[in-house]
Symmetry: C2
Subunit: 352 residues, 2 copies
């Protein structure tokens, strides 16, 4: 489903003349819960494992390594240009698994819904989840639904957890970093955070800034196929590029040098950042990867990324250096160098 | 840790003179988030897989079958006689995995915390999670923390997801049910629901009614070791015994006959049920199993359950019959027979 053409099917399988709002009883474990689960969730996510309707999903595994990840999504607003909380929840966990070097396979899906939430909005979210899961080639195999009283949650919170098979022989870890490794970012930074921030601030622009939410597992697959010298994969979400790079520097014990003029930022995003006094390095992304790769393979990997639909604006933005241990430095466009710290506080609550 | 002797260590590793409340920034992905995660969560859950601090956990798997389950916990109040939301969150997912015939191995842990939540209460919950995980012999290997603005959630919500290895050759499914199979409940029913309901209603009794929250994976292990004729395992949580049995009847296509005089209910729980006009069959349990087993093995399995610390009051309470398809009937103590329907609405919101 293209982001430009939302395909929401308004034909919600729960007759919305009966219940156009979610009731406490829809999370009560009785027949209304069952109706919601069967008519909406099972209807949409239909697959052999889920359909067994057990307390959990059971599936085949092979000898090897498995990745397991979890994320709760509390983004506000729940619908935004480029996506919604449902799509974000699928892509978030898919990307976390991909960053472990895994092929994501199965997701769990757990809703906490505020009493009175629109059944039609729930249906839109469920359809987006299905569409995102199909795009990322993962299955929703188990789930849970809780409803809390009006005022005790904010519309809807979604947890996804997921499992995937790690490619044989692969270890993705900051510990692998060596001096000279190149750092690739797979596209323009700060799109997601600035999209949400603009919405909340009521800012309007000639061109709409969309969230970059996207599944990156196929891209990861492609780069692991062309290079066996990938050291680290990480998606710079909350806290942005700066926080993620600081974490990697800290875990690897190495320094990182960034070149400001190489970091891709959309002009309109840059404009909003200036207007709001924000540094795009600290703003969240939901469809970008940081790739640390041996210098020998950097150009090859960059080319592969650029050929992927989500990697068109990829660039080599820095490298691993000895520096003073564990710090991130930025060589600015005017030629000075400054330290890029981890953000201490909260730039923007509920960005994901 | 015995339930009777809460061992909360007040020595919270986050200096509570700095922050005695959870701030939005503790969920922001920056240095305050990192401090919370490292000083509190990593400190407490310390294990080799978690310590890699990646976006997800990576662990070894074998060829075979794996179970995967998820649950979000929104119980109110978060502390109650016999447990708290943290312990409940561990036991709930452990039991769901055990009911798939799996040995639970790894859990994910995801918090949604309301801004201003007591750091000390968070620490108590984290310690309970650790203690419950140890008792159930599972590891917390990955997690997530989100903080939402004051008034946008109710104190704390917890999602746990989990994976475990299914015993070789085992298929636990209502489809296995045959006429004549016996139904065992592993102890007194309705304890958890009545504990929470009494708390909320402000009822006081001579003896305190405690939640039955408990990990049942060891018990499942024991019964699977003595019998290869276990057909169904299910923990009757939300919606109680009646809803779970109706689900099993519906999936199996068989009828179920229950003997009211065999169903164990504590006298004080019975008293509260009468006072509040509730049927204990519909009240939630958090430490009980329903076991469907071939009649030949029923006594052997019952004996095994009774030897387990959580199974002392187990009883055979009914059997699978042809009946009219898919219904649950109760033979009452006065000799009449009535149909036990699935609950339609919500007896008690936020029971788990």
């Amino acid at each position: 489903m293209s982001k430009k053409e939302p395909l929401f099917n308004s034909n919600c399988p729960i007759p919305i003349t009966d219940y156009d709002k979610v009731l406490l009883a829809h999370g009560g474990g009785g027949s209304l819960s069952n109706k919601l689960i069967e008519k909406m969730f099972f209807h949409e996510f239909d697959n052999e494992i889920l359909n067994k309707m057990h307390d959990g999903a059971v599936f085949d595994t092979q000898e090897g390594k498995m990745a397991f990840s979890t994320d709760s999504f509390v983004i506000q607003p729940i619908f935004f240009p480029g996506g919604n909380i449902g799509e974000l929840a699928v892509n978030g966990t898919v990307n976390d698994l991909a960053c472990c070097g895994a092929v994501p396979q199965y997701l769990s899906l757990s809703f906490i819904i505020e009493e009175g939430f629109s059944m039609d909005d729930l249906w839109k979210i469920v359809q987006s989840i299905k569409s995102a899961a199909d795009k990322a080639d993962v299955k929703i195999v188990t789930g849970d639904t809780k409803v809390v009283e009006k005022g005790k949650a904010d519309k809807i919170f979604i947890n996804t957890s997921g499992v995937g098979i790690v490619k044989k022989g692969l270890t993705i870890s900051p510990k692998n970093c060596n001096t000279g490794d190149k750092i690739i970012v797979t596209g323009t930074i700060a799109d997601h955070g600035i999209c949400i921030m603009s919405l909340r601030a009521g800012l309007e622009f000639e061109t709409q800034i969309e969230s970059d939410t996207a599944p990156l597992n196929q891209m990861v697959n492609e780069i692991l196929n062309v290079s066996d010298k990938i050291k680290v994969l990480r998606d710079p979400t909350r806290g942005g590029l700066a926080s993620t790079l600081n974490e990697i520097a800290s875990s690897s014990g190495k320094g990182i040098l960034l070149y400001e003029d190489k970091i891709p930022v959309r002009e309109d995003v840059k404009g909003v950042c200036e207007m709001l006094g924000l540094d795009p390095l600290y703003v969240a992304n939901e469809g970008k990867l940081l790739i640390f790769v041996d210098a020998d393979d950097a150009e090859k990997v960059l080319k592969t990324v650029k050929n992927n639909e989500y990697g068109k604006h990829a660039a080599i933005i820095g490298e691993v250096q000895e520096l003073n241990d564990k710090i991130v430095k930025l060589k600015t466009t005017i030629g000075t160098t400054r330290i890029v710290d981890m953000i201490s506080g909260e730039q923007l609550p509920r960005i994901c």
